[in-house]
């Protein structure tokens, strides 16, 4: 199914990609081509078939719920753009 320019702008906004207006047209063309190929999925007979979310071992292994040492805050924040009092500082939220 084709994806139009408005839809491209919408997903780019949702994903915070800051897409240039000039790139919207090209993205719409490329995504349309890809989605046409992906539309092959619509021909699959999936009636009554459960989705697979995870392969490998079923379930989740557990461990004891005990507090253990973790990464010190200053090391965890070492690569941040800006920090203050052990927190990540960001620009104004509008």
């Amino acid at each position: 199914m084709p994806i139009d320019r408005d839809a491209v702008r919408h997903v780019a906004e949702l994903a915070r990609l800051g897409l240039d207006p000039a790139d919207v047209e090209r993205a719409a063309e490329q995504l349309t081509v890809i989605l046409r190929a992906v539309d092959e999925l619509q021909a699959a007979d999936i009636a009554g078939i459960d989705p697979t979310l995870q392969v490998g071992d079923p379930g989740t292994p557990t461990r004891s719920d005990t507090v253990e040492p973790s990464l010190p805050v200053e090391r965890a924040l070492a690569g941040t753009l800006s920090q203050e009092a052990g927190l990540i500082r960001v620009a104004q939220i509008q």
């Binding site: 990609l17 897409l19 995504l31 999925l41 697979t52 392969v55 070492a78």
Partner: protein
Amino acid sequence: MSWLLRPLTEQAHALRSGAVTSAELVEETLRRIGCLDGRVGAFLRVTPEDARAAAHAADLRLRAEGEAAPDLCGIPIGLKDVLCTEGVETTAGSRILQGFVPPYSATAALRLAEAGAVAVGKCNCDEFAMGSSTENSAYQPTRNPHALDRVPGGSSGGSAAAVSAGLVTVALGTDTGGSIRQPAGLCGVVGFKPTYGRVSRYGLIAFASSLDQVGPFARTVRDCALVYRAIAGPDRRDATCSAREVEDPCPQLSLGVAGLRLGVPVEYVEAGLEPGVRRVFDEACQRLAAAGAGIEPVSIPSTRFALAAYYVIAPAEASSNLARMDGLRFGPGRPDARTLREQLEEARHHGFGPEVQRRIMLGTYALSRGYYDAYYRRAQQVRTLVAQDFARAFAKVDAILAPTSPTLAFRLGERLTDPLAMYQSDVCTVPFSLAGVPAVSVPAGSAEGLPVGLQVAAPTFADALCLRVAQAVETACGVAEPPALALEPVR
């Protein structure tokens, strides 16, 4: 011939007999990288001082422990740049992580370090492992050591090329839809994607979490098995890592294929293979038959839907995983932006390359309201069909044989502007990824002077059997010759 072109097993023996030291192996590695990698581009960064210190420690350990030292002790290795390494810049081939120095190491990298392996640097890859040619790296393309005008495959093209050119003995890569096997096939080395959940993903920068798996590249199947044995096994830091005990593949390697039933999916060989790939594949099957294997056709009818399902599921997971790349927690960021929204949009717009942006948009679209059922849920249902098809096939046969790539290594730039053509590179590898089964690419011959890989897949957690059959392929077809570039004198 350079030590680096000899099997790990031979290097390990020489390290114990005193014929060579780890320090000498590492100096040879650094010399070879200095001399050859300008043309190949396998490494994004080399860490000579860390490597020399690790080699010194390995030599002391080899002296103290002798035969009891781990197989990998003192062996030079490369690590794909999506694996976090404490204190060493890790970028995943992306601008958005430029300058990121992780405060911890990936479990797989740590296990190799604990075994005494010497990491010499970080290998190039497609940005966030998204690609099949390593041209999507934000820093440099990697070239195929067998033909420098051709791609090494991807996304772990740097790791594959590094082993192929004899820059390191072994390397780690990651495989989401074929990113270990396809470059291994195109570069003429062995590349193994273990069962999903067999190797910890802790410290691996996530692309598609339900598919990503870490695995080794090496010149021989036995070397691959030794690395796999060192990195596989439970890890309390990765909840998807299996708690099952790891079956040691090494004792089974020489058992051969006599009496085994090997299936060839008809859908893989019916159409789309280049003639050279088809010829090498057919000849390898004949050799395995001569070694006593029963070769029989099997059918994986869902094959026609597998690539489409993959290119919904992987981008959907990627769009979620890459949300954390905000330029705030790590990476260069945008300190001059006025609002948080501007910070995010500018960091991501300038930080992500075109393919990553494309896949994020595709994934966001597939997960958005109104399209979720038509794309994401349907793709997951098709994933069930693929897994069911393989389960049916493995009820009939012990392992499956398939070509690794439908084509030989293609030229740089050839598919860069045609995303769909690039995605087709994964057509033979993706179905096994969706099913989560182990699969390995082994050199099976060459066509037009370029390597051709054969893929062996086995049932879930039958990783040892997968490597056993791969060893039989190697025995039948021979270890691939290194490229001419790797044999050049190095000073």
